[in-house]
Amino acid sequence: MEDKKVREAGIKTYITIWAALVLFTALTVTTAGLNLGKTGIIIVLSIAAVKSALVLLFFMHLLFEKVTLIKLVIPLALIVLAIFIGLTYTDVAVR
């Protein structure tokens, strides 16, 4: 808690992140237009993951969060979700 002012998002950071999000949207629409099949799905979903990470870290301030417990909530939720999805897929794959 000592160095409170070390890292805080400013107006410039927000606008940069917004521009990156718009750019990624353009990129994802272009990729989808190329009809790459399975590779296309992976690229498009990876871009969505990157975009949501940008929103979480900068717009939602998780990068600047000082309380560790708050930082852990979303990673934990994602791990639980990954277990759900992983187990369901193995069930379907070996049925």
Binding site: Y14, L21, A32, V55, F59, I74
Partner: protein, 196 residues
């Protein structure tokens, strides 16, 4: 508000957000399973959606996310006028989103594509499932947008009444809720509009 109480309030909000991740995560799982089983039908059905409208709404929501981030930023600095202006801009974006969405749904309805419609029921099973999931998931998301509009309207009124101190946790949590709405759409957009 004391620092400790504030971080508790924020933790509560993040726990709520994690339950929302689970809610939509379950629906995403359902989508991916049905897609795996009916790949061709999902492909054909996705061609019905307007990629242009979807892209436009993505840009609208991303911009609204920027505006609410700026509103929270200015509220922290106690520049209430600017914070209020950015909430208004966020609300404007929210209504734009709903208008585009209403237009899109209206078009589907005209083509006989709505849950239980005779035309939709005559389509292959996978396409029925696709549109079922489409209306369920975008509908649930739109409900979040409407709730977000309500929450932000209250924030605007409270702001005008000068109820908030420096960096109010209520204000910040409302911002977090709005960003959540944006993140859900970031995933809905590729799933329904782009993967075809």
């Amino acid at each position: 508000m004391p620092e400790r109480k504030k971080s508790d309030g924020k933790l509560g909000m993040w726990l709520f957000i994690s339950t929302e991740v689970m809610l939509f995560g379950g629906l995403f799982l359902l989508y991916s399973m049905y897609r795996y089983k009916h790949a061709q039908d999902f492909h054909n059905a996705a061609l019905e959606l307007s990629r242009f409208a979807g892209t436009m709404n993505t840009i609208v929501l991303i911009t609204s996310s920027l505006f609410i981030a700026l509103a929270v930023y200015f509220q922290k600095k106690r520049q209430d006028k600017k914070a209020g202006l950015f909430i208004l801009l966020t609300l404007l974006m929210a209504f734009t989103f709903l208008a585009v969405k209403a237009f899109e749904w209206g078009e589907k309805f005209e083509h006989g594509l709505y849950p239980g419609a005779a035309h939709l029921m005559s389509l292959p099973k996978g396409e029925i499932l696709y549109f079922g999931l489409y209306f369920m998931m975008t509908g649930l998301h739109a409900l979040h947008v409407i709730i977000g509009i309500g929450v932000l309207s209250f924030m605007l009124v409270f702001l005008k009444q000068g109820r908030f101190g420096e960096g109010s946790v209520y204000f910040e949590n409302s911002g977090l809720y709005w960003h959540l709405v944006d993140i859900i759409w970031i995933f809905l957009f590729p799933l329904f509009y782009l993967i075809s």
